[in-house]
């Protein structure tokens, strides 16, 4: 551990957590129980994400500008049995993936958002639209009368693809984390953070592109030349949109304009995964319930046994999953914070340490109102 004595003590309310980060710790305190919970939940999250990204990519490639995407959750594999299971709602709730996609689209940010407003993108989108609408005079007419209609849809499709590509990287990171834990290689929360961080760093410069195939012809909507990369243009906007901002839940926040419960500026939105109250999960108007429900099917046995030992056993499974999930998301956030830190955490240079301190304090300002305090003590 590097001593912090050469820096004056922080006056931040979350100073303890800042010191912990500076000393190689994480937002989540280290304990064997926390490690077990976080790894277990990330395992099931990895499985769910795998299903999510496959569907998102499928929709972006094969349901491009389909007006009635009846079978968009089928990933192209149609059978009567699958249809019946689908109708019985015995399936992954892909709606939640779309919900995250909508959050990214709506909150924007990053180079992707800017690129979608460029003339270059509009031209490319227009070509794809023309190709798609060939032989459909009705839709051509609608598209003429409402010129932005389909372009906006293509932008949405782009986000389908980008989120799919992001999760395509994240899912294996979580699954290998679980494998390594099973092999005994992961023993502490910093190990978890480090594993995620390494995964992010490895993929950081991976290019983000998007192309669709219409009638045998490839249309590049986001070419490599746009210069979008994994970390800065997918991961960072994702964390911002999904972990921090997201949308107000209709089940807990009033949309009434005169009541002014929702801030007028999107920057002040704080309804994301790090802020949401886990208690109402399972109830009306709480979309993350869908994710928690999906994860119930894949939690590893050790975690399931751990949950069953709590007073309510199976009945409040989704709330407990949500609590664990928030813990794990603080680990992922730690990885993102460390990955974006201006200088290495163990730098000896006081100037650099000072800048790191300011950087961390800025993060803590944002996390002040989050569930960070609640995950410091163990409360399931």
């Amino acid at each position: 551990m590097v001593s912090t004595s050469n820096l004056s003590p922080s006056t931040h309310p979350l100073a303890d957590i800042i010191y912990r980060l500076e000393n190689g710790g994480a937002l989540l305190p280290d304990s064997p129980e926390n490690v077990m919970e976080v790894v277990g939940i990330l395992k099931s999250y990895g499985v769910v994400l795998d299903a999510y990204w496959r569907n998102l990519i499928y929709i972006s490639e094969h349901q491009f500008l389909v007006l009635f995407p009846f079978f968009k959750y089928f990933n192209g594999e149609f059978s009567i049995g699958k249809l019946l299971r689908h109708w019985w709602h015995n399936r992954i709730n892909y709606e939640f993936a779309e919900y995250c996609m909508k959050a990214m689209l709506w909150h924007g940010g990053g180079k992707l958002d800017a690129y979608l407003d460029t003339q270059e993108f509009c031209d490319r989108a227009q070509q794809a639209i023309q190709a798609k609408l060939r032989g459909n005079p009705l839709m051509q007419g609608v598209s003429k009368a409402f010129p932005d209609f389909l372009i906006e849809q293509v932008r949405q499709m782009a986000y389908y693809s980008v989120l799919g590509q992001f999760w395509r990287v994240m899912s294996p990171i979580f699954l290998t984390l679980s494998d390594r834990y099973d092999r005994g290689e992961i023993k502490s929360i910093p190990d978890v953070v480090n594993h995620v961080l390494q995964g992010l760093v490895r993929a950081a410069d991976k290019p983000i592109t998007y192309a669709v195939n219409i009638r045998g012809q490839e249309y590049e909507l986001i070419p490599k030349s746009a210069g979008l990369t994994f970390l800065m243009d997918a991961a960072v906007p994702y964390v911002e949109a999904v972990f921090f901002r997201s949308f107000p839940f209709m089940g807990t926040v009033s949309y009434n304009a005169q009541a002014r419960q929702i801030p007028p500026e999107q920057e002040r939105f704080s309804y994301g995964a790090l802020y949401a109250d886990p208690l109402p999960v399972g109830g009306a108007g709480i979309p993350p319930t869908l994710l928690m429900q999906d994860m119930t099917h894949f939690i590893p046995d050790y975690l399931h046994r751990f949950y069953q030992r709590t007073p309510r056993g199976e009945t409040d499974l989704r709330v407990k999953i949500c609590v664990s999930f928030q813990k794990s998301m603080f680990c992922v956030t730690t990885a993102a914070i460390l990955g974006l830190m201006p200088f290495p955490a163990d730098t000896p240079d006081p100037e650099q340490r000072k800048k790191n301190r300011i950087y961390l304090e800025n993060w803590m300002d944002r996390l002040l109102e989050s569930r960070l305090i609640s995950v410091q003590v163990c409360e399931v």
């Binding site: 208690l279 109402p280 007073p311 709330v319």
Partner: protein
Amino acid sequence: MLSALIVIPLLGAILIGLLPRVSSSHAQTGAEVPDYSRAIALLAVTLAIFWSVLLGFKFDTSISHLQFVENMPWIDALGLTYRLGLDGLSLPLLVINALLTWFAIYSTDELLQRPRLYYMLILMLNAGVAGAFLAQDLLLFFLFYEIELIPLYLLIAIWGGAQRGYAATKFLIYTAISGVLILAAFLGLTWLSGASSFGYDPSRSQFLPLATQLILLGTLLIGFGIKIPLVPLHTWLPDAHVEASTPISVLLAGVLLKLGTYGLLRFGLGLFPEAWSVLSPWLAIWAVVSVLYGAFTAIAQSDMKKMVAYSSIAHMGYILLGAAAATPLSILGTVFQMISHGLISALLFLLVGVVHKKTGTRDINILHGLLTPERGLPIIGSLMIVGVMASAGIPGMMGFISEFIIFRGSFPVFPVQTLLCMVGTGLTAVYFLLLVNRSFFGRLPVQFSNLPPVQWSERIPGFLLATMIVFLGLQPSWLVQWTETTTTAMLISYPTIGAVGHSLTQKDKG
């Protein structure tokens, strides 16, 4: 046949008494020797339910006089006869007595202290109430009426809350006074009419001077008014409810208050029709006072159980209104209201009991967000919504049709009083909505975020009661067919019904 309803629970009680004593008073050691008292009690009451349902099937709905009569001289010197009989007034009450006793036993905490005594007392209570509903001899009724006090007193005093001693004593004294007054009225009637026995005879009072009748009826009214209870004789009830455990509250509200309203109809209206018709306008006003007083007081309560208790007082007021009007329809309505209030208040008390057991409080200013699905009490909350809506008289449930019949039956006789009582149904919605919205809506507070889970065994009684409430709300004829002949016949000797009713209708039209 009828004695079986008294004998079965008594046999059960004796059987429990004969069981080997488990251990002095510790539940932990009781685990070594299984305790069969609960099972025996449930079995006995189940038999009683079957028996009363069987009676219900064999009951001839076209006959207005007593059926299955048992007559056996007991103490000739006293003029006491063991005479039981069944008619359309007592049959539904008997069924509900057996039914609610079953629910009470079923929802009793299995880790209860001194289970043998407890179940014995409940069975004795059941037997006593059944006897009172069946007795066709004034003195016999009085005996059962008094006997039932002892187990109930003990049930409150031993298994109650912190203030149980005070509440139980208050209950005992109030009800003892009620008993003395009733006895006095019975004795007075028998003596003054020069009869040699205490047999139930509606025609007995007609030779007495009206003033005497009024005094006797007044005594009886106060006696039963305590039991029902009517304002201002009610103050024992909220205390007794708050201190009693949940199953006892269920019985108290669901069955025991009905002894008062039953007595009002059977002995007040039945024995003193002439005096009744003189007093009836005052009784209707008394009903209005009870209804509005109970409803307004309920609004200001923060304890759920007190709220339900005051709501009981208000709902009992409707029965007085219907009885005062004394039209065939209004009397039918009172019987219906007894059953509907029995089921609805039983449901509400059961649910409040579960909330109290899980959260440790009944204060609606502290409880919030109990509908929260995973960590709250969502099903208990949904049943609570059903219960309060039934109590507030939402159609499709029993509360509505019983109140509607009473109002419809009373309006021609006492239009203004009926309208004022209807204000009470609006107020019912106010306090029960406050209850539901405060404690079940909103966010679950932190101190309640780890409530113990609710077992299905705690929900099943609620489900069954709610189903009955809805079913009889949709199919009221099933219940009414038992009662209608009797209630219509009860009014044959009632003098002025036609005259009073007619004159007021005329006034309306004119």
